[in-house]
Symmetry: C2
Subunit: 388 residues, 2 copies
């Protein structure tokens, strides 16, 4: 199931509808996942500025570095965007900025007039210099924080997208099974990294992989009390190891985390993992459309509080398309003060990550909300995995 | 050879000296490579805001998300930075921003006074909302574009860093040799991706690898006329393929690109590759300290012009430490109007990338400037590699 012309039309229409709600005359899209969502463009070109201008009635105009614009037609879906390039002479200069050229191109296209223009102020790859250059070059524009406008369109997935998320989940489950099978005390961390990355790239026999927005994360020994560490040139000991991994299919991500104990676990860790898994199960069993995120979070919160544990960080977040450095959508967060109402087609990484002092445990699943509850996209034993 | 306390002191002193030259009372560092350079911190935490404040006389203060701050001591070199965390409640909110909390922490530390503060306006991961929040929360500060201040300190490498770059070069050469050995018509692109990533993760027997700032790029068939494309779920044909790869050692990058022809190449491609390699050789043979970058570029430019070719894009750029999405330092560009004078210890990716229409060729090397010329850090046949 591929993303077809009708789906791209729907996405653009939904974006324009939100623009209307926010009384925006135009929206400037820089988040690579949002650009991909609206036109399919896919390349590792986002380290130099690129921006798409969406207006209510014209084809979106995507401007990027000339050398990248030359190949954009290879991934841009037909008739979703006009692509134009800016000259190389704007790259990495003190005296000018690519957004000078991007702004000029927008002016040439007739957009140099009084408008309320939404900007993605919290997107990765929209640099401060770009924002300031834009403000200077197009003083007619009133720049307005869009607060993840396209990301919010992305929150509810179409049936075609859910198929892609299921595919990502299959890759993810395969990646985790491969990692759990390979890991043991004495194994060099680089070897596990290589094994995991191979599985991510190859996918399963039937389902293609893709490169991940976040490299495989592995926290070993005392370091299980922290997330987001990368591998090092050491060997695993007889210790606990948290693996935060992902399977990716056509840029859709289904993360999956587990803690694996390579020695008989302490009673403390066993109990922590038990409570963590129980809490996660309560949420998975209890989440349903019409419920608020806060209420779903409450299922977790009450359980771990009763068991004497605390977790300051959120229990999860909305997922879908992703580019480095993040597979999250930066919209819904599963926490007590997020009152978003769950709808079918929303997808979340529910990450029950407990980072205590010198111990910790991560058990997560990627899920999608269905008509009656949730479907779990990932598959691995939902417990502390002991290989001791 | 590791980065020791003396080297961290030297780096901080050099940063402070440049701050003095720019009449800055403080510098806000957000680029993950710059943070790593100044204190060694290393984690995949840069997708939520983090910032280090460097002043003339106090220990740098690094503020990041609380869950990441908890583990920062695992990689921060002793006595290089004080680390503090902001509360989870600032993450991904409409009504507040992590930079509200970061600014408050700076105020608490006594920095809420009239100061000229340099900011990295073109750094990745310094979002517009962060900049605006900072400006609002610390109105005493005059925010001044620092124009890659720390990146410019990084341009000239120490002896210890050159050792790390050599190590990265060894990994890089091994990665390319592995890829060239594996690629053939009929091979699925995902299999080559897996092979390359394994080699990157494992390094050579003696030299550890690390994860790259840019995933392996592969452009096949007609797509050799563009850079920066990622792999797809297809098989290589009897065609030309450009591989833009890298070896990484302790976050230092030595990129290496080659075009491999999986069939007897056309005369057009053969001639293009010949001219490209000759031009690159002229630069490698001619570059020396004291020469300007523009003059080095001229060696290339005159050769390809005489041969009837054009290249709009720069011939290379400064390299060293890197985090996604880029292994370049965003400082020196090898082009005709960059008048930086070459110094021993500078490192460059010289990328002779010729992207014509439906054909193209990439031949690159990573080099470091020595006392008398350049040392090539990477090793692969400097020509169109034919495996047809």
């Amino acid at each position: 199931m591929a993303i077809n012309a009708a789906e791209y039309s729907r996405r653009l229409a939904a974006t324009r509808a939100r623009m209307g709600d926010a009384e925006l005359d135009a929206l400037l899209v820089v988040d690579p996942a949002n650009i991909h969502y609206l036109c399919g463009y896919n390349a590792w070109s986002f380290y130099t500025p690129q921006a798409m201008l969406v207006t209510p009635d014209q084809q979106p105009l995507l401007v990027m570095r000339a050398m990248d614009a030359q190949g954009a037609h290879r991934t841009v879906f037909p008739d979703t965007a006009e692509v134009d390039g800016y000259a190389e002479s704007y790259v990495h200069r003190v005296d000018r900025h690519p957004f000078d050229a991007i702004a000029e191109r927008f002016r040439e296209a007739g957009h140099g007039r009084r408008m309320r223009v939404g900007v993605e102020g919290d997107a990765h790859f929209f640099a401060v210099r770009g924002y300031l250059a834009l403000a200077k070059a197009l003083p007619e524009w009133e720049l307005i924080e869009s607060h993840e406008l396209v990301n919010w369109v992305r929150v509810v997935k179409s049936d075609a997208e859910i198929e892609l998320m299921r595919a990502a989940g299959r890759v993810s489950s395969h990646v985790m099974a491969t990692a759990v099978d390979a890991i043991e005390a004495g194994l060099p961390q680089p070897e596990l990294m290589a094994t995991i990355q191979s599985a991510q790239a190859l996918g399963t026999g039937d389902t293609a992989g893709d490169y991940p927005a976040i490299v495989p994360l592995m926290m070993a020994g005392d370091a299980v009390d922290t997330p987001h560490l990368t591998y090092s040139n050491t060997r695993f000991n007889e210790e606990a190891v948290s693996l935060e991994l992902v399977g990716v299919h056509k840029r859709y991500h289904a993360p999956l985390a587990r803690t694996v104990s390579l020695s008989p676990p302490s009673q403390e860790l066993e109990r922590l993992a038990e409570v963590t898994a129980e809490g996660l199960n309560l949420v998975i069993d209890g989440m349903r459309p019409g419920m608020s995120v806060a209420d779903a979070h409450g299922l977790w919160q009450r359980h771990i509080s009763a068991a004497g544990f605390e977790k300051d960080s959120r229990l999860g977040y909305s997922i879908g398309l992703g580019y480095p450095p993040d597979w999250g959508e930066r919209t819904v967060s599963i926490r007590g003060d997020d009152h978003t109402v769950l709808e079918p087609g929303m997808c979340f990484h529910l990450i029950a990550g407990m980072w205590l002092s010198s111990t910790g445990c991560e058990i997560s699943e990627s899920v999608t909300v269905t008509a009656s509850g949730v479907e779990v996209l990932t598959d691995a034993p939902r417990e502390l995995i002991v290989k001791g």
